[in-house]
Symmetry: D2
Subunit: 438 residues, 4 copies
């Protein structure tokens, strides 16, 4: 049986007890918010990019709704309307405040939301003080994974929201020179054999002490993979520049029809956040506006751009099954290079660094050609918690690998992220693949 | 020559020197913002309702742009990008940051904007220290009138922005009981003779020490007014309730075609801010959600609603010429009651109170049937400052009289406010009129 | 009392009896449709431009609804659903098929609609055979005037609908050379005295055998008009070209704010129907695509363009009261030139010809600066027929004078046409005015 | 090697020579249009539903563009602008007239379009008179398959366009009673083994005289299919009624998130074309408005509805690989029932009939859960013709089986149709599937 080796390879950094891990993850959310001004907490430029405040509240809502209310007899909700205000999309819980208007909630204030967090944390501390049932432990684990996902969204949403400001606000100043001196490395092609592969993870609880996975990674099931090659690293900015200079954004024959429609309607001429000023290319980052570094991975690409770039390079996007196969293989054969060795947000890096190794994890999420669909035999959990993943299995594509703003404890070979092909505000890039015909 | 009697009737409350008046008006803006949380400063629910922060900055921009830059040699702008960020609509100055995105400017922070204000105030203090030319004095006066207008917009925009929040945030708690005990007074009809009337104000500078007026009130010119009657007070909530209960919002024959289209597309069933909860009517106010008081003037009506209400009451909207005629007449004949005696925002009233007198000023702005058009002979000022009023003279209707959140020093018989007929977020109501045929 | 002199000046071309006039007007609608292909009858490019078929049916619906149903006992409607399908906007009659979808009614077919027309005509013929009551006669007259208005709309809507076709379909070939050889005449300024003028027409029925007028022209009432000058002819294409070449469409200071917003959002760079092909200007007309003739009146201008053009020429739009005053004056003083002497649609002219005289009538409708408002004392008719004009008295501007595609029997000094300031698909132009200060 | 058995099972009805087949298919398009009025030819209710006229012209354009222009030296295009007007989406050929405005092309007239068709047919007859190259033959074959696809679209588009008309126009009267007397048969579950299956067709030209297939069916490739069961027939109207009566359209837990958003935004409460009138259900059909027949297959379902229905029935949509596996299996084991035995449009049936057999073909297209993606190794053809299928491989789902308005000569096990999950105007239904776990 395939192991989700990536997780094992990552050093366990989490404290020993569940309660300690809870506090650790929760404090991390607040630590990430520390550089913000109060004014930054409420920004929401489009429906998709929720305010920082809202992320802080919603993650607390998750624990209140799915742990405190059902498992703490006599628990009094912090505020009677928060169930409505901070419900994201769980119809099983009730109606939701309209997503596009989250930025209009100046009240509760930031201070009140921190008070909410701390009240939830206190109650959770009591709940987790001592022995907890398997059911509670599983829900707490899900809540922590959920919070880590929202920490990542905090960064992507914040970036988008700050980017609307012509003053180019800086989330975190950069210490070192932005541009890499070294020449970008050429892409190498790693070859993989075909065969029937086990994809995904066993269901949670099916084995003792198994690593966490989301329900959308289950059940583990067989997939026929044919021989393929996968690029040693994502396409970098230099390679996207070459595409631009060749007229790639003006050549319909390179694009999917829906992608070309988007290029035309939205006037795409370069990746999101790129700016061409006085003949020079810049990129807006969480470190402010920076000169474009050719050696860094291209990011904030839609799947349409990823697909057009792949076509221009006479290649294609990998399937998610190929990607997972490669991740599992590389882990086995080359354990030291293929762990998660990129630089991450918890190390103060808020932008993908130039790739020096073969790791599939970190840097940028990698678009696959696979529609986000249920695995054969997939069953969503019962009740409202079953709305976590399953109902989104339409119209989206799977991305793999994680980015610099992911929590590296979440990255593993079977992890499936998913966005609409036109979405560009995630740290999404492209690692190209080819059929192997030898 | 017609006197703009209302202004004279109002006791001069302003300090003697221009500089002192400058500081007084400027501090007023900050005093109105004092009850806000930092989070409230950035709210913008729709393009029309600018954030409080933006009002604070834009009014400073006005002095920086039209006084400090041209008249203070060597003046260094506070920030190179503020000219762009806080320009409202002056094409003569340059491009403008998109209006609908003002709420996305978390930077400059509130603190930085106060620093901007204070830097401008300091420089203005130096400019106004001593003798100033007539030209400068006139521009300062315009800047102060402009700032008073934005103080009013601050309240109307804030109200709209807070109203989006289901928590019903309170700008200012109310001290006394909200509902009036007394029965609403019946409407009386005041009759006015016809004849040729002088409408508007003489041009600024045409007479010494004349009261201020905006260019859209000039030139004073002759208008033929036929005999008419005007209601002694605006329609109150009880009267709008009667309209609602008679099916007024569902009867197309009462409405202008464009109004009915709006009723249907936006589902209007009552004035803005009214809520029907468990069989009872409430109204969102700057004092929070309050039980609807039948005796208070109905406000937040569009001109379409005002027109339909008037029709239902077998009456019509007055023309702006009738209104101004009435204001001038009443002032002459009944000086003690027809001054500005309503309760105002500077006295801690942020909602129109039940009317106890015949004043045409304050309470609610009163829609007229008059299109906002240039007076015969109107000339906009030269340069960018000429964009202040003139270019909006299309598609809007004139409102007269001022509201509780106006600065009462601005209210005068000739003052023309203007909004689109569908607009409802101002404190706008309806005082009905009739032809007199006797 | 003012006479609506224009009407008198026009030779009575109508047959003596009401029934004969009925048949004459009705046949005219069909004659105008004769050059169409069946396929042309159904075109509707935007909600405003109804299909030719729909005009044919709706005008018949008018007679069926307002004459045959109430006055012909036992009359059986031609089709039970036509009341719904061909009701334009009369809420008093009932619901209406959505305006924007009229082009989707392939059934009833053109043939069936002609059958409907002829059935209505037959029944009307019986109703009008012999003595008819004053009430019926008045309604028939209104129905005929209504049909003439729709004949004009037939041409404007058809032109817009055909203009969408890159093949430049020709409604009617032109026989003569399109471009005028002569130099365009310079504009002269006609001066008019100020004073109190009678504007509008007496109410229908208030005098015997008075000429027809719509209710929106009533009651006749006094207006104070100040001395003014009016251009001897509308601006012509050469003058609009000069404006274009001076950057008029790219200079915000020339435009009303709402106009400039439209210029930007819709990319206006020239009047509707103009095309710039290989360095040469063309104009799409009902005679096909033609080289732009500098001497012809500019048409298909919005009021925003009219206003900007006037400003550029250091002039302004006239008020509707000035225009009507001028029309009445010119008629009195100069009867032979100021009748309706332009070339009209009933003479095979479907485009305004170069102006050779001083007539205010025909050629192009002339935007005024007057909002379309009720005259003092205006009362809409009772019942559904009262929806004809009154409910549109908001947001629109008055145009005066009529165009080449008007029925010249309708043109008179008091006739008020009205459209939204952004509308361009009518034959609308601009005759500029100035204050007279001598 | 897997045979695309369905095609073989279908009796060859086509004339022997390519030229005869050409004429046969081409005449079929005209025969289908015969019942139309001229007015019906131009209808286009939404961008997706092209006018009948346009289909007639575009299919001719295909032969003109891809056969006559390249292979007939000296061929003069019928009209210089038709290349632009009737190009659907081939960027390789040039710009296209905007899709949403096809209904505005009253010219060329229907008669002119028939003239165009006949001119193309004449030239094609000359081209096909005698021996033709393999390349030409392949293109002609593609053109004929293309025309058959447009014949199907003609019906689906026409139905949608006619459905906008409240008169319920009838394309073809029905002869027999609409409602079936018999009770609907219960669904049976057909079981299929798992294993590696060959999916798709060999590339065209890879074997002699192979049946036609589109490039999106190639290359034939291996897919791992796990054991599954497939319903013996599509869900019928009675079953959808049961879903409605159970509140299925108001229960978010049954729906994909994007589907539920559509249910809410568009107010879906039943399949497209259903109407609830005075307590009874009706269905608009090409035979006019008919009482809903419980025994007929439900059609005009979006994939969202199909998915929700499947979930409610404790089942799921099949993958396209399962569907193709089933089609291939059933053909082998049960040749007499599993051919294409439903009633088709060429037999005068324009609505799916109640299913009396086990055939997977005809009746309604069956949504699969498979994203429309390229098969492993897929290569689009070179040049503009390569835009036929490949560029649409994103955001759409595969449907299988064909409908009553398909050309039955096209139906085969490997045929992939594709639409967006929200699309409802095709004859699309749902055949549910289940995992087999025995």
């Amino acid at each position: 049986m395939a192991k989700t080796a990536a997780t094992e390879a990552m050093p366990a950094q989490s404290p020993s007890s569940l309660c300690a891990r809870y506090m650790d993850v929760r404090q991390c959310s607040e630590r990430y918010c520390a550089p913000l001004n109060i004014e930054d907490y409420g920004l929401q430029a489009v429906a998709e990019t929720s305010p920082a405040k809202w992320h802080l509240a919603h993650t607390s809502w998750f624990f209140e709704t799915f742990l405190l209310k059902p498992y703490c007899p006599g628990y009094t909700p912090f505020h009677p309307r928060f169930e409505y205000l901070f419900n994201s999309y769980y119809n099983g819980i009730g109606e939701q405040f309209p997503r596009a208007q989250r930025g209009l909630l100046s009240r509760p204030t930031v201070e009140e939301i921190y008070a909410y967090r701390h009240a939830v944390d206190k109650a959770m501390g009591q709940l987790l003080d001592g022995q907890v049932s398997k059911e509670i432990a599983a829900r707490v684990e899900l809540g922590l994974q959920h919070e880590m996902q929202h920490q990542e969204l905090f960064f992507t949403d914040l970036k988008y929201n700050l980017a609307q400001n012509p003053l180019h606000p800086i989330y975190m100043p950069t210490e070192k020179a932005w541009r890499t001196d070294e020449e970008p490395q050429d892409i190498c092609w790693n070859s993989f054999e075909g065969g029937i592969r086990l994809i995904g993870s066993p269901k949670i609880g099916e084995h003792e002490n198994g690593p966490f996975c989301f329900d959308n990674e289950t059940p583990q099931h067989r997939v026929l993979v044919e021989p393929f090659s996968l690029a040693s690293r994502p396409l970098n900015n230099a390679e996207v520049l070459a595409f631009i200079e060749d007229g790639g954004y003006n050549n319909p024959t390179l694009w999917l029809a829906d992608g070309w429609a988007k290029v035309c309607s939205d006037g795409w001429q370069h990746p999101l956040y790129w700016q061409h000023i006085d003949g020079q290319w810049f990129e807006f980052t969480l470190h402010g506006l920076q000169a474009l570094d050719p050696a860094r991975p291209a990011c904030h690409l839609s799947a349409y751009e990823a697909d057009a770039l792949a076509r221009w390079y006479d290649a294609r996007l990998p399937t998610e099954f190929e990607w997972e196969t490669a991740a599992n293989e590389l882990q086995k054969t080359n354990s030291q290079n293929n762990g998660v060795s990129s630089q991450f947000v918890d190390q103060g890096h808020y932008h993908p660094s130039a790739n020096h190794n073969e790791s599939l994890f970190g840097g940028v999420w990698q678009w696959t050609s696979s529609a986000y669909s249920p695995y054969r035999g997939y069953q969503a959990a019962a009740g409202a918690i079953g709305e976590y993943n399953g109902k989104f299995m339409c119209n989206q594509l799977v991305l793999r690998g994680g980015s610099c703003v992911s929590d590296r404890r979440q990255l593993r070979a079977s992890y499936r992220n998913f966005f609409y092909p036109a979405d560009r505000w995630q740290f999404s890039g492209v690692r190209i693949a080819r059929d192997r015909r030898d």
